[in-house]
C-alpha cells in the first residue's frame, strides 16, 4: 500500500523516530485537506503532574504564544477531549468561554478545525487536531471524510504512544518485589495492614514495611497514591 494510509500502517509496526512519525501524520492531514495538524499525547502518571507531549506544524509564533499563555489548561477542545472521544468541530460557540484564544488562533491562520481524542487500555490519551486557514468544514465533507479522519486519530495514537510509552514505562519501572505487589493488591482490595498480616501470616510491622518501600519505589506521597500508581502502571494485574 503506497498511499498515505499504507505508509501509516507500516509505521505502526516498525520502529521510527517521533519526527518521522509526525511527518507522516502531517502528510496524511494534508491529503485530507488540512494544512495544519497537532498531536497531543498525555501520559497519565505521575498523577500530580501528568505529562503532555505536543507535536504540531502550527506557525512557530503561535506555538510559542500558546505555550506562554498556558492555553493548554483552558483550551476547550482539550477539555472536551478529556471527557469524550467524540469528534469536535471548532465553532465560535465551542470557544465562547475563551474568546481570546479563539481570536488569536483565527489571526494565526487556524480558522477552521476538527479535533478528536483517543484513549487506550493503559490510560494514555491522545488528541489529533486538524485545522486550516480557509474553507469551513461542511456536513458533506464530514460525511465523506470523517471516517478517514477518525482512522488517522487511531493510527496516530497507536504509532506515537508506542514510541513514547516504551520510554515512559522503562523509566517508570519501580521494580517492586512480589511480596510488595501482593501487599499492594490487598490494599487495593480495601484490606487494612492488620487484615493483610493475617492473610499472609506475617506481622503487621512487616506489612507496613513493605508498604513504605512501595511508596518510596513508586515515588508517591502515601499508600493510597502508591496503589493507584501501581494499578496505572499495570503492576497489579
Amino acid at each position: 500500500m503506497n498511499t498515505w494510509q499504507g505508509d501509516l500502517l507500516g509505521m505502526a509496526d516498525t520502529a521510527c523516530t517521533v519526527d518521522a512519525v509526525f511527518e507522516k501524520i502531517e502528510r496524511a492531514s494534508s491529503a485530507l485537506g488540512f494544512e495544519f495538524c497537532a498531536y497531543g499525547l498525555r501520559l497519565p502518571t505521575p498523577i500530580s503532574s501528568p505529562r503532555t507531549i505536543m507535536l504540531s506544524n502550527y506557525p512557530q509564533a503561535w506555538q510559542a504564544r500558546y505555550a506562554s499563555q498556558g492555553y493548554l489548561a483552558t483550551d476547550p477542545t482539550v477539555a472536551h477531549g478529556r471527557q469524550s472521544q467524540t469528534p469536535l468541530v471548532w465553532t465560535h460557540a465551542v470557544f465562547a468561554q475563551t474568546p481570546l484564544l479563539w481570536e488569536e488562533s483565527q489571526s494565526a491562520g487556524l480558522r477552521f478545525g476538527w479535533a478528536q481524542s483517543s484513549l487506550d487500555a493503559v490510560g494514555v490519551g491522545g488528541m489529533l487536531s486538524l485545522a486550516r486557514s480557509s474553507e469551513p468544514l461542511t456536513a458533506t465533507e464530514l460525511a465523506t471524510q470523517e471516517v478517514k479522519m477518525r482512522w488517522l486519530v487511531n493510527i496516530s495514537h497507536l504509532a506515537l504512544s508506542r514510541l513514547f510509552v516504551s520510554e515512559w514505562v522503562k523509566e517508570s519501572q519501580p521494580d517492586l518485589t512480589s511480596r510488595e505487589v501482593e501487599v499492594l493488591k490487598w490494599t487495593a482490595d480495601g484490606k487494612s495492614s492488620g487484615e493483610i498480616a493475617d492473610l499472609l501470616s506475617i506481622s503487621e510491622n512487616t506489612v507496613n514495611f513493605h508498604i513504605k518501600n512501595s511508596v518510596v519505589k513508586l515515588r508517591t506521597a502515601n499508600r493510597t497514591a502508591a496503589v493507584v500508581r501501581a494499578a496505572m502502571l499495570g503492576l497489579l494485574n
Binding site: N2, T3, G6, L9, A143, V147, W151, L158
Partner: protein, 128 residues
C-alpha cells in the same frame, strides 16, 4: 472493489475508508460464563456482537464482538478480538494482505466507526 469467486470482496484500504458503513444489527450474549457474573460486589459486564454493512453492491459485511468495561472513570464500550468480514484488503499492487494482517487492519478501521456512539441506544432498544 469486486467480489471474487472465493466469496471475498477485494478492495484497498482507501476504498474501504471511503465507503460508508451502517449499523445492521447488534445483540447481547446470553449464557455468560464466569467471571462475567451478576454476583453482588463484582463487576457486571455486558458483552455481545455488532454487525455493519455498506449500502451498495457488493455488500460489505463486517462484525465484531464488544464488551462493556466498567472503570473508575465510567463505562466504556470496547471492541473484543479481531473483526469478522467478507473482505480481503489488497495492496495497491493487487496482492492480498495476509489473513491475520487483513484482520488487524480491519480492526483499526472498525475502531474509526462511530459505533460506540450508537450502540448504547441500539442495545437498549432491542432488549427494552
Amino acid at each position: 472493489m469486486h467480489l471474487s469467486p472465493d466469496g471475498l470482496i477485494r478492495l484497498t484500504l482507501d476504498q474501504l475508508l471511503s465507503t460508508s458503513l451502517e449499523h445492521l444489527v447488534s445483540g447481547v450474549d446470553q449464557d455468560a460464563s464466569p467471571p462475567f457474573t451478576n454476583a453482588c460486589g463484582t463487576q457486571t459486564v455486558l458483552s455481545g456482537y455488532t454487525e455493519w454493512i455498506s449500502a451498495n453492491d457488493p455488500t460489505i459485511s463486517i462484525g465484531w464482538d464488544w464488551h462493556l468495561q466498567t472503570a473508575v472513570t465510567g463505562v466504556r464500550w470496547v471492541r473484543v478480538g479481531l473483526p469478522r468480514s467478507n473482505l480481503m484488503l489488497t495492496h495497491d499492487t493487487g496482492h492480498d494482505t495476509s489473513w491475520h494482517g487483513n484482520l488487524e487492519i480491519l480492526g483499526t478501521v472498525v475502531d474509526a466507526l462511530a459505533w460506540r456512539e450508537i450502540l448504547p441506544d441500539v442495545v437498549a432498544a432491542r432488549y427494552a
